[in-house]
Amino acid sequence: MTLFPEVPDDNATAQLIAQAVAGEQQAYAELYEQFASGVYRLCYSLLLNTHDAEDVVQETFVYAFRNLARYDANKSAFKTWLYTIAVSRCRNLYRRQRMLTLDISQLLHANLAAPKQETPEAVFTQRSVQEALRDALAKLSPTLREAVVLRYGHGLAYREIAEVMNCPQKTAESRVRLAHKQLHHLLLPLGQGLLEELLQF
């Protein structure tokens, strides 16, 4: 199973879906292989927890495969459809876990918190880039996190983000803009410009 599968074109995906609906078990495996990594990254970016992400990926594919015959390629791309299912399940999980009020970064990295006397640069160098990003994402609201992850993490167009998030396109745009602004404020104090620091790694 490859982590970076080749991005299938729409025709290849449509063919795989048709084969799966026709009962070919191998087609299910291929669809999973093509899209599982992306769905997992999305879920992990939103939930910031490995076990929850795995559970949601599992739920997403079970639901999608059971309802594959209902998928309409004219309405949305298969990836968008899968992401819509995944985001919906992630939202259910936030609600259950009250993630809105939890500071996940404190839970996950309590032992990594640096003494206050250390400079921001020193703090930043002690953390990996991924951890810094995780902390910043954890401080965003779930809605803004969804928007920025879909935009920058998965390269979705605003129209697709709006579809996945079930909101107007203008709302999706403003959410991405707001998330970008908040990340700017969250990440810059970690160093003198995130990119300069990141490029050193």
Partner: protein, 174 residues
């Protein structure tokens, strides 16, 4: 920060993503060329966008064993529940038709002008008319019962019984 700076900064995200209309893009670009503060702000934003585009796709990358484990669970769950079948799922129209047929069946007696009561066997003779005497009394007034199956004399009594204030002369016994 003057009005031009405000105008530029509120549109900077769109400018970065090349989503502004031509006219607005030109105005923002001109301001950035002339305002060092906004230019510095723009560079930081651009840096962050580039960084997010580079880092977020790698964020949360799963290990192969994780995906394999999830796939095993997906397969197990599909095997336990309704397997994705080759045939498309039965469409919902069949259920709608069944409901309509059931409703029609239930409504048939009403539509045809016959209620279910008409289909029952005839009841045994029962008192068809009751009347009370006009005499006011504290006691419970006697109730006299007339049956349709009685003689013509009784039939007259029944007819006159419709006038509540008129005492009904009972037929004399033979």
């Amino acid at each position: 920060m003057n009005w031009d700076c405000h105008y530029t900064r509120t549109r900077l995200h769109g400018y970065l993503n090349r989503e502004l209309p031509v006219q607005e893009r030109r105005l923002v670009g001109q301001h950035l060329d002339n305002c060092p503060q906004c230019q510095a702000f723009y560079q930081r934003q651009r840096l962050l966008s580039r960084d997010l585009e580079r880092e977020l796709p790698r964020f949360g990358m799963p290990q192969p064993y994780q995906l394999q484990q999830v796939w095993a669970n997906v397969q197990a769950q599909l095997a336990l529940g309704a397997l994705p079948n080759s045939a498309p799922m039965p469409s919902r129209w069949w259920y709608s038709v069944a409901v309509v047929v059931l409703m029609l069946f239930l409504a048939l007696p009403v539509v045809s002008g016959r209620s279910r009561a008409h289909m029952l066997p005839p009841l045994p003779p029962s008192p068809m008319l009751q009347y009370k005497t006009a005499t006011p009394t504290a006691l419970k007034p006697p109730v006299q019962v007339a049956l349709f199956s009685q003689t013509a004399a009784v039939q007259r009594a029944v007819t006159s019984a419709k006038l509540y204030n008129t005492p009904v002369p009972l037929p004399s016994q033979p």
